[in-house]
Point group: D2
Chain length 347, copies 4
Amino acid sequence: MSDTVVRAGIVGGTGYSGGELLRLLLAHPRCKIQAVSSRSRAGEPVSGLFTNLRGRIDLDFIRPQLSLLKDCDVVFFATPNGTAMTMAEALLADGVRVIDLSADFRLHDHQVWQQWYGMEHACPTLLSEAVYGLPEINRAQIRAARLVANPGCYPTAVQLGFLPLLEAGLLKPDALIADAKSGLSGAGRKAETNLLYSEIDENFSAYHVDGHRHLPEITQGLQVAAGQPVVLTFVPHLVPMVRGIHATLYGRLLEKDVDLYELYRRRFSDEPFVDVLPSGQHVETRAVRGSNDCRLAVFRPQGRDTVVVLSVIDNLIKGAAGQAVQNMNIMFGLEETMGLGAVAMLP
Amino acid sequence: MSDTVVRAGIVGGTGYSGGELLRLLLAHPRCKIQAVSSRSRAGEPVSGLFTNLRGRIDLDFIRPQLSLLKDCDVVFFATPNGTAMTMAEALLADGVRVIDLSADFRLHDHQVWQQWYGMEHACPTLLSEAVYGLPEINRAQIRAARLVANPGCYPTAVQLGFLPLLEAGLLKPDALIADAKSGLSGAGRKAETNLLYSEIDENFSAYHVDGHRHLPEITQGLQVAAGQPVVLTFVPHLVPMVRGIHATLYGRLLEKDVDLYELYRRRFSDEPFVDVLPSGQHVETRAVRGSNDCRLAVFRPQGRDTVVVLSVIDNLIKGAAGQAVQNMNIMFGLEETMGLGAVAMLP
Amino acid sequence: MSDTVVRAGIVGGTGYSGGELLRLLLAHPRCKIQAVSSRSRAGEPVSGLFTNLRGRIDLDFIRPQLSLLKDCDVVFFATPNGTAMTMAEALLADGVRVIDLSADFRLHDHQVWQQWYGMEHACPTLLSEAVYGLPEINRAQIRAARLVANPGCYPTAVQLGFLPLLEAGLLKPDALIADAKSGLSGAGRKAETNLLYSEIDENFSAYHVDGHRHLPEITQGLQVAAGQPVVLTFVPHLVPMVRGIHATLYGRLLEKDVDLYELYRRRFSDEPFVDVLPSGQHVETRAVRGSNDCRLAVFRPQGRDTVVVLSVIDNLIKGAAGQAVQNMNIMFGLEETMGLGAVAMLP
Amino acid sequence: MSDTVVRAGIVGGTGYSGGELLRLLLAHPRCKIQAVSSRSRAGEPVSGLFTNLRGRIDLDFIRPQLSLLKDCDVVFFATPNGTAMTMAEALLADGVRVIDLSADFRLHDHQVWQQWYGMEHACPTLLSEAVYGLPEINRAQIRAARLVANPGCYPTAVQLGFLPLLEAGLLKPDALIADAKSGLSGAGRKAETNLLYSEIDENFSAYHVDGHRHLPEITQGLQVAAGQPVVLTFVPHLVPMVRGIHATLYGRLLEKDVDLYELYRRRFSDEPFVDVLPSGQHVETRAVRGSNDCRLAVFRPQGRDTVVVLSVIDNLIKGAAGQAVQNMNIMFGLEETMGLGAVAMLP
């Protein structure tokens, strides 16, 4: 296996996740980018859009065609929701493995999916096969998966933060709160006035308090970890910065006599990308910006029964493209950390 | 009373709250700034430091001396904690009324104060006389007060957000959560490396999760409103922007059959500076930046028993200098909104 | 004239200049906003779009119809280029005075206009009547004007900065350089990906170095001031901030024995909105943000023959809506500074 | 030479350049960080200050002692001006090569140095030996140097931008203008109020227009390139962003019949870190952020005789730590690009 070169295709390579995938895969020692597709920019050089890649990549965007993608070992979908579900089946039939960064295969229940995503699911039969690509939970299944549903950014930060407490049965299951804050790159590269610089800068606001699409995805994962139904209140906010998610998690402890730091440290001691800070230290988004790390800190203010967990990731790396590469590494028997060693720049 | 001119002094006029006080009072039709003191800049022109005031104010900073301040009708303290408590008594003795923007007189219990502020209180006898200057609760007492303790920024946003629910006895008192986010001006104009542009920009983090000084102040106020002890978890965060606080508040409803919007609307219908948004709308900090308004929005996600209240203010206006002017207006029988009509600039 | 109330209409009130006009006119003691039009939002409340105006304005957007606008004393166009030129004539015929914030009437020569703006001019006959609304040059003509072409933002900052030197014949006319930097609000509220927060934040770049539309407008003005042809190199840049223009101007002195500060001070001594800083001090955009001021500073580094002028304005105020109100005041015989007294907020 | 491991020491490792040096050297395949000194933090773990390096480096800061540094092959000084000049001689005597990121050895003339830096030079005898570490000019001398004076950030961007034109004798030598804009990290990690987030954000200003310390350094370099005296007007500005320098350069062409793009392309065709954009394209700072690249674009607006060059670098990489590593690679016979392959992150 030592000299495997994985031939990768990227469908929908013009958004921020697609751009990060390109940047990461170009530096990956065992991956070759075979094709990058974009309906709107077919024929244009990739480095014309991603000016940071000037001189590093020689490909042009192609139209998304199965015939050109079936020579790949793996195809990543960095498309808006609703595209991967129309193409995945054919690729799998051709023996191509699929990692979908969109939400198409994240929920097990296609009725729930349809309710939150407002369209009919084109391929519900694959929902049961798709493996939810959070390596810290599903590493073994990912290894064998043909189709990996790469987790959302908020779901990654929130699930990793709650995991140890829920797995240990230490939290009241009906009173979970995730107050999450995200940089703007999480909203994607969409020409919408409400994402303009002048609308976002010097402003802070919550959005979709009534219900964000990541809520069912997070709840589904937390229930698996808890082994029982949980009730989560999830409030996302926009931070005037480009990258980073900071999730502040609240739960009610059922038992107070527990060493929280030790619980977290032990749970993640073998995880290359989860770092638990010593008691009393605070996480910050910039310290993981550009890296595939999730950093966690656990507090019990005033020694009361409310636990506070701080969880940070780079939404485009561990929350999207980095985790996708991590999944690819696992699927193809490569070192899990390969190509993911970058350290955050400070400042 | 129609032609009263209030002669005002400002002690410690070189920080951000002091600067905002100057800007607001200069535009106030019934106030004359008599003196502005600063130990470090005595003798320098005020407009040299606050370049926005060039051509608008002709005063120099003076050293803080009682002899020069006792001709004032009111003295504002915009000093670090620990100063007002050494000067207030003498001013009151001379018939000068005092509005303290620092924390010196906000807590009733001087032992609690000493524990959180790490110094001995120089004037505990005045703590029982001092009126907590949140007009939406204490308007009548403020009118007659000699000494007003102007509330902290977080406490203003959090208390106004919880008030209607607590006063109506609708919340489980031991499970309140305030996840608060503040712009950097709240940290003041202090030469500290952790407040540098390069440390703050493109970063988001929580701080003092173990216990922030505003916790006892908020709890004290909430307990008065609730008429019983409450337990609050308070987690402050820094947002890479200059102005604005966004508090996201969580509580457990004891009764679900209540029209939350109506409850809030009614509670604040006579309040000139509290605006409750229609159901489903979200607040944003920029829409109150530069104004003395607090905006509130109430949600009950998925119709469950967790209520979410969003509360925004400009930390330097309603959270500091604007509220101080509002208190001055009340104390001197002026129109409460006088000099406070500015509308936020967008964008 | 003491109790005149000017009835104002705004066509195209949904952009940033339109929003600022609304905010300024609402606070203007002698102006009544009669109608605000928007093709796309007709029927919606104005305060739904401009959330800062909630509770301050009760109007709905209307469709732009002459019948509804002809009752106004003045109509402001805050529309994209190409609209005012199709409606101005009819309004003038009805006795309505027009202040156009777009570029339609700024150039005297319609052929030059067509070349830079890429469309045919619908109303070239009005170009000779239109008065260029820079009060510091054309105050008398503005007073009598039926149609005022409100200057562009860059042109305001650059012209005010060069004026004293050119009027005094002190600069080599063929070697003017204007290196100008603008905040993003200058680009307007357009749904374009290159204006997204994630594209602009933490980035700095020049644009249109080959030729920006404001070049002929600036050159036209400078030539009038100089009384001879001038050659200007104009390079605009985007700064990751919302408001503010900083123009750094370079020229070659023909005579070195001149007191530059004194020259500038004297030229603008009667101007209420132009402030010349003492020698050695630097201007900053934030000190004029939200105000109608232009601040200038003049340097001659190392005593050589290159002069450097720094000029700052708020692009939406002195560079757009504020200057439009200043023009309205002049046209209707009101105090020129009326409604324009706001001081910049710091920080 | 293939398995050389360079043992490196860093003196003054607590600033932004020091931090970047650490980050780059940790990822360098042929370098081992031997020691990192800091007077103020001696004894503390390096990763406590640079939280991005948690888990990547195990060293504690030491006090700066010659005895501990003389085992290094190379010592980098990332200290404030005035330190390297007191330690370099002793290190060189011990056979240690020195790369100084401060300004101590950048000027040939110690009198000029003293005039601009306001202190006496402690080691003027080394000024003639020190090699100015701009590889694009001095590669051969750097290879053999014992002492390299690493260029300043502005000087790197400005010199690379002017080089081809000056070397070719195409510019009027007495009319050079460099209008330069820098992110805040260039000002260093100093506890000064004027560098606070609240002072910098949403603001743009020029500084030191009367004369910035980088002026004599740039002029010295340009004169070597031009082979004659040049007169430069240099105006630096602060941009509200962390990283990046954008220099906009202006010159008067002595000859107009020249293919500027071709001139630049050819001059830098063998340079691994200088990239000339095709005619008509604009550079942007974010496309080089985190990389060691300098990107250039050349314009001649309206085909006149003023040439405009746009030059961007990451001030902490090509403008400091990256260039220092590039110099180390050259000095020790390593591949010049080793450890410097990082691509900018977008967005």
